[in-house]
Symmetry: C2
Subunit: 106 residues, 2 copies
């Protein structure tokens, strides 16, 4: 458990993560593009939970295929699920996705 947490902290420092929610679609795309261009990131993680997973995939695809075409690519994709107790005291499972984008090797 503690190893998992340490790993999470490590990842968060290493990489630039964009959490996808209900803000306008282009906000996230611009966020990813900026990380690579003005922030000089070599890897950006697009992360989402539940119904926002489809959006995270759209954001990754539009960034790779349109805005930074030929420059970045999908390096890795991980899916997982988190369990938590909701406010009706029921155990609920929600899926997550992490799409790792990185500079294309020349």
């Amino acid at each position: 458990m503690s190893e998992g947490t340490e790993y999470e902290n490590e990842r968060r420092e290493d990489s630039n993560t964009i959490f996808v929610g209900s803000r306008p679609f282009m906000n996230y795309v611009t966020g990813v593009v900026m990380q690579f261009t003005t922030q000089g990131a070599t890897e950006v993680c697009v992360k989402a939970r539940g119904k926002f997973i489809s959006r995270a995939v759209d954001i990754a695809e539009v960034t790779c295929k349109r805005f930074l075409e030929g420059q970045i690519e999908v390096k890795n994709i991980r899916i997982n699920s988190e369990e938590f107790t909701n406010n009706e005291n029921r155990l609920v499972r929600v899926s997550t996705i992490e799409v790792f984008l990185g500079k294309k090797s020349q």
Copy 2:
């Protein structure tokens, strides 16, 4: 175009693909479980487009973590996008996901 079609046919023969849509959630989970158990498949691909991508991830997670826990795992995940002209004659892009599940190596 014909190459694409041949590739599709090839894939369909090679692997057991479940296309996720709007049918009840458990239909798809049962479909995947049956492929592994009664059909003896070693790999099953869960595929979806657009808003159904989140569902495909849920189905993969529930199958791996609950119904066939310890027996199958996520082997690979691919995302892509398809472009097509909709009935208003506009070019539309839709994202796709393929989650490849396989028997866990002992």
